[in-house]
């Protein structure tokens, strides 16, 4: 069975797809076509995307959206309702105020942050499942699915690959990794996934885990930072204070069956005390986690 790999730059990151299939090339071509569709659908940084069409009509009228986008917004909103989850898909205005990770990032004033926070109430997102419409109740509201979109897309790609008879594969959406089927180059058929060392240059791993038929998602504060006026600000914003989340963690990695699960859990655990996060990981079946603190300590439920 042939193995083929394709690398594309989409969704603001580097995407690698590797599949084992009788005729891999047409399958990869279709996967890339789908990725382009998803990018245009879920992007918060593209004025013409379906997601931004909702923002343009904020405070005016509901917008009919694609079922997949509706589904993702629904999942996001359901998990945003509970502040303990740290997730808020209505955080768009706040992210756009800081812009950490973009060239025009800056430290906004307190007044700006407070103004942006007033537009981030997830309860002000109205969903109509019958007509598949999304309505943001206040002008200026925008949705940001950045915390969960990649996981959702990885799961969709995984489903597509399985449907067309891909027997094994790797989906790497810029650090969100899904592996399924046997990795034939290793005797134990398990895939080796490196966990980036937060304190080292990119590509240097802190450890390598072996998994199969799993998603591995890492969330961290080391990739996008803003240095301003003697302070370093990272890009994981606290939806309650509007400032970067104070945390002893440098990165959280979740190993789960579904990638969306991994996204939700990394968001939920980030900013919690390490011990509390570890306790939750140990008590929850079906997921495993690895936490690396800013002082370089490693906590894991699988080692």
């Amino acid at each position: 069975m042939p193995v083929a790999t394709q690398v594309v730059h989409l969704m603001g990151t580097v995407i690698t797809l590797t599949i084992t299939h009788r005729q891999p090339q047409p399958v990869l071509t279709e996967a890339v076509r789908r990725l382009k569709v998803y990018e245009h659908r879920f992007s918060a940084n593209d004025e013409t995307s379906e997601l931004m069409a909702i923002a343009h009509q904020a405070g005016q009228r509901p917008v009919a959206v694609d079922p997949e986008l509706f589904d993702l917004i629904r999942i996001g909103r359901d998990h945003s309702a509970n502040t303990a989850e740290h997730l808020n898909i209505a955080i768009g205005p706040l992210v756009q105020t800081w812009r950490i990770g973009f060239n025009d990032a800056r430290k906004p004033s307190d007044a700006e942050i407070q103004a942006a926070l007033r537009l981030t109430d997830p309860a002000a997102i109205t969903l109509d499942p019958r007509h598949l419409t999304v309505y943001l109740q206040r002008p200026g509201m925008t949705l940001d699915l950045g915390a969960i979109a990649k996981g959702y897309v990885a799961d969709l790609l995984h489903d597509y690959f399985t449907t067309v008879g891909v027997t094994a594969g790797l989906i790497n959406l810029g650090g969100n990794v899904v592996v399924f089927g046997p990795q034939r180059q290793h005797a134990d058929q398990q895939w080796r996934i490196g966990i980036q060392d937060p304190g080292k240059p990119r590509g240097q791993n802190r450890l390598v885990i072996r998994v199969r038929d799993k998603s591995v998602v890492t969330s961290g504060i080391y990739e996008r930072q803003l240095h301003a006026a003697g302070h370093t600000y990272h890009h994981v914003l606290d939806p309650v204070t509007g400032y970067p989340m104070p945390t002893e963690m440098a990165s959280v990695t979740i190993i789960s069956a579904q990638s969306i699960t991994g996204e939700l859990w990394t968001t939920r655990l980030f900013g919690q005390p390490v011990e509390a996060a570890m306790a939750q990981l140990r008590q929850t079946s079906g997921i495993d986690g690895i936490i690396i603190t800013q002082t370089g300590q490693l906590y894991s439920t699988i080692l």
Partner: protein
């Protein structure tokens, strides 16, 4: 999934072996099939018990450690072969490796019957109570006219046959998962471990409170224990107690002795508690294990599981890194079963060590560095304007044909030495 394949033939050229080999090579994405040979197995004879012979023990070990078994049977005079029947007799006489094991039957024959009678016959044998294998129902794969079925490279010619064989193996893989889930023991017996050390073994010092902070002194007095300059005869040597203490306390490991009654009776006090990797205090010696562990249900369960696995010989040793290791320290708790000369379990030797200095020393001495060699790296979002070198995942997927241990450098060295 790991399967073993047995061809029921001792002939030099066996179409059934070719069929199994074809399955092993062409469907390796479904399961890893290892071929076992039955050529060296003697004819079954109760008066000359060969159960302990290498050939039979080899089959036993391989079958026990596999998830399932695929048997390819020829047909001789309407039944399976005498050699295969003989092997199954050995595997159901004194030992029962096939008990509860999922088995799939396939078969090839010279003529158009495709070993159908032999397969039914073999199914009957495997389902006998003494064998007690769990045979995949239905899904009969019968390969008739076998002389013309394979090409010169031993590949099946007919794609319909290949697809059907693949579909039966797929069903078997699912079947194996289901059966092995059913077989999985719910209770390992670990719950029975008594961490409060309420039992008594030959060496238990009675009449001294295990919780007493001066248990060591009290127990020593009661037993008139050797001390100071008293000699102790060891295997192999003779030391005074002082020498023995100096020796043990200079070990680059923290050693703890828990006896088979789960009583913590010794540690090598090399440093004060606050300087130890795993803190121990002098007053704890003599405590039952329950007293020196957190009163947390999860911890207790885990301690019981480890001790029970060591006591019952499931594993010789358990090693666990502590949570919170850094890139510069890697503290490992190792638990090793201790046995007397007759092999009776005597308790647990726990030794705690930071192995990172050793690893760093080795790397420095050999000029190597750690190489994880992953298929992909998970990280926080990577920006697209990253240089291409960061797509380590794609590079290693294309090139990672060799495991890191494969050292081309070594080959280069050997050719260099030819030039010397």
């Amino acid at each position: 999934m790991k399967l073993v394949g047995i061809a029921g033939s001792v002939a030099d050229k066996s179409y059934n072996r070719i069929l199994l080999k074809y399955m092993a090579t062409h469907f390796s994405d479904l399961a890893d099939i290892e071929m076992l040979d039955i050529k060296d197995v003697p004819l079954f004879n109760e008066s000359d018990d060969q159960t302990e012979s290498d050939a039979i023990q080899y089959l036993k070990r391989k079958i026990e450690s596999a998830d399932g078994v695929v048997i390819a049977t020829p047909e001789h005079n309407h039944t399976t072969t005498a050699s295969l029947k003989s092997v199954i007799e050995w595997l159901s006489y004194k030992i029962h490796p096939l008990d509860g094991k999922p088995v799939m039957i396939v078969g090839a024959s010279y003529y158009d019957q495709g070993s159908s009678r032999a397969q039914l016959n073999l199914r009957q044998i495997l389902e006998a109570p003494g064998v007690n294998a769990v045979v995949l129902p239905g899904n009969e794969f019968l390969l008739g006219e076998v002389k013309d079925a394979f090409d010169e490279n031993d590949n099946l010619k007919d794609s319909g046959t290949v697809n059907f064989l693949q579909s039966t193996l797929q069903k078997f893989v699912k079947f194996v998962k289901v059966i092995n889930t059913l077989n999985h023991p719910e209770d390992t017996g670990a719950e029975s471990e008594d961490l409060n050390a309420t039992g008594k073994i030959a060496t238990t010092v009675e009449g001294v409170d295990m919780a007493a902070p001066d248990w060591v002194e009290q127990a020593a007095e009661k037993t008139h224990a050797a001390a100071g300059n008293d000699y102790v005869k060891l295997d192999r040597g003779l030391l005074t107690v002082d020498q023995l203490n100096a020796f043990l306390n200079s070990m680059p490991l923290e050693l703890t002795y828990a006896d088979s009654n789960n009583q913590f009776i010794y540690y090598n006090k090399m440093a004060p508690a606050e300087k130890m990797l795993a803190a121990r205090t002098p007053d704890q010696a003599g405590n039952p294990l329950a007293m020196v562990h957190p009163k947390n249900a999860r911890v207790v369960k885990h301690v019981k599981e480890v001790i029970h696995a060591l006591r019952t010989g499931q594993v010789p040793e358990v090693s666990m890194p502590v949570p919170g290791n850094t890139a510069d320290k890697y503290i490992v708790h190792n638990y090793r079963a201790m046995h007397d000369e007759q092999g009776h379990y005597m308790g647990v030797n726990e030794y705690v060590q930071d192995i990172m200095p050793t690893i760093k020393w080795y790397l420095a001495k050999t000029g190597q560095k750690l190489e994880g060699n992953p298929d992909a790296t998970t990280s926080a979002s990577v920006n697209a304007d990253a240089p291409a070198a960061d797509t380590t995942s794609s590079a290693s997927v294309d090139e990672a044909a060799s495991e890191p241990a494969e050292a081309p450098a070594t080959d280069a060295d050997s050719s260099a030495s030819i030039n010397d």
